[in-house]
């Protein structure tokens, strides 16, 4: 069987795996987004206690390998009675990890918004919370897109480590196929290509979002 026929024949299974990888990535990036915003706000605007707590969280997750975090979650927590199915554990692990990175990107973007914006918002009588909601965050989201795109792509590729805790994502499916027919080289060439295509598509989507919400004249 030549390479292309072979690639075609294994494609249904690989597509299934790709879908799982994508699902995992989307869920994890969403968790990271939802947690990352308050974490970044805590670091920029929080009082000493909030600042310390958010900083510890961020440094802990950025300072240790993702695989270690995943193993603690999946193999470690059952010893104190907390058990997650593999996919759930992977979503939580990747999500909590991504939150730390996203928080840092958000923090950078918030600090890139000029000081005068907050001052002007306060001067018309906005509370700090309203100023953050209506003035700072809308500008932050525009500024953060380039680095956030990076995080999304890194996370998609990093989602392959879910293979280590028995999630049937793309790499894991590849291993199964290769273990049956020993065409490891071809299988993983196809898989690399699939990742590449997904990354390109995500890149383009985010580029067009960036263009669409760009502030005219800036």
């Amino acid at each position: 069987m030549n390479f292309f026929w072979f690639a075609w024949s294994i494609s249904p299974k690989l597509l299934q795996g790709s879908l799982t990888s994508l699902e995992l990535t989307v869920l994890a990036i969403s968790i990271g987004l939802i947690l990352g915003i308050p974490l970044s706000l805590g670091r920029v605007y929080g009082n000493k206690i909030i600042y310390t707590v958010t900083t510890i969280y961020i440094e802990a997750f950025r300072g240790t390998p993702m695989l270690t975090q995943l193993f603690i979650l999946y193999f470690g927590l059952p010893s104190i009675g907390i058990m997650f199915p593999p996919f759930t554990a992977a979503v939580i692990g990747l999500g909590l990890n991504s939150a730390a990175y996203q928080a840092e990107y958000f923090r950078g973007a918030i600090q890139a918004v000029k000081d005068g914006q907050m001052v002007a918002a306060r001067s018309i009588g906005m509370t700090k919370i309203k100023a953050i909601r209506y003035i700072i965050l809308p500008q932050m989201f525009r500024l953060v897109i380039p680095s956030w795109s990076n995080e999304l792509i890194l996370l998609l590729k990093a989602s392959s480590i879910a293979y280590m805790i028995q999630v049937s994502e793309l790499v894991s499916v590849g291993r199964q196929i290769a273990s049956r027919n020993f065409r490891t080289f071809e299988v993983f060439l196809v898989i690399a290509f699939i990742y590449f295509v997904i990354v390109e598509v995500l890149n383009r989507i985010l580029h067009s979002v960036e263009r669409k919400i760009k502030i005219p004249g800036l």
Binding site: K114, G116, Q117, V119, A120, A121, R122, S123, I124, G125, M126, T127, K130, Y134, I135, P138, Q139, R142, I215, P216, G217, L218
Partner: protein
């Protein structure tokens, strides 16, 4: 006698060990244009920011009409909503159009309906001569136009007074005129204003009263005719001789 809008009493402000304002007291009456002049770094801008507490004063009291706004538990946001502030560097919200810049305070602070807020905002933008630029973003406007939008943003809140912090200092010379013109009209219409500026022409012709500040204190105060012609202090005379 006209009603007092702002009363400042013995205001002090330090940054670290440097005392920037060393006991300042004055009053602004309704419809008055009070111009604050003086050398750079003498606390003029700080004084303005202490009035609406963008900087909080260390000591002293400020009243807005009969409310003491330096009391600890006062709702400062509500107070700020009724004191306009025009910044040297405009500080328009960069992600919002001129229209949104002007109506966001009405909608998010005053919680006005969009339709009503839009009506007021369009009117205020027309008042500063920008009726044809309402959908432009700040970056698409010249400095003078941006500053006029920021004046409209202050006006829209129907403030009891407007504080101007060197509103023309960041502008190219050819754009200063259009901003001053708007301010002159406001003075004529009876808007109460405190203006920190280096525009002596404006001070001379528009101010009801001029405060000369030096080194954190008010060195002298009086109507422009008096202050420009017969300054009481050598410092004031020296300042005028340098800038004219």
């Amino acid at each position: 006698m006209a009603q007092t809008i702002i009363k400042v009493e013995n205001l002090h402000k330090s940054y670290g060990k440097t005392e920037v304002i060393k006991g300042v007291s004055f009053e602004v009456k309704k419809s008055e244009t009070k111009v604050i002049i003086g050398p750079s770094g003498t606390g003029k801008s700080t004084l303005l920011r202490c009035i609406n507490q963008l900087d909080s004063p260390d000591k002293g009291r400020v009243w807005l009409e009969d409310v003491e706004i330096t009391k600890p538990h006062i709702d400062i946001n509500q107070i700020r909503a009724s004191i306009g502030f025009v910044f040297q560097s405009f500080n328009l919200f960069t992600h919002l159009t001129a229209l949104d810049n002007v109506r966001i305070g009405l909608m998010r602070v005053r919680e006005m309906k969009e339709e009503e807020a839009t009506k007021i905002a369009v009117e205020e933008l027309k008042r500063v001569g920008l009726g044809d630029k309402i959908h432009h973003y700040p970056a698409q406007l010249s400095g003078g136009q941006q500053q006029r939008v920021s004046i409209a943003r202050a006006l829209a809140m129907n403030p009891k007074l407007i504080l101007f912090d060197e509103p023309t200092s960041a502008l190219d010379p050819e754009l200063i005129g259009e901003v001053l013109e708007v301010m002159i009209n406001l003075a004529k219409e009876g808007v109460t204003m405190i203006v920190v500026t280096h525009e002596m022409g404006f001070a001379r012709s528009v101010a009801n009263d001029i405060i000369f500040m030096d080194d954190g204190i008010i060195l002298e105060e009086g109507p422009p005719g008096e202050i420009f012609k017969n300054p009481k202090h050598k410092r004031t005379a020296k300042f005028f001789s340098k800038i004219t």
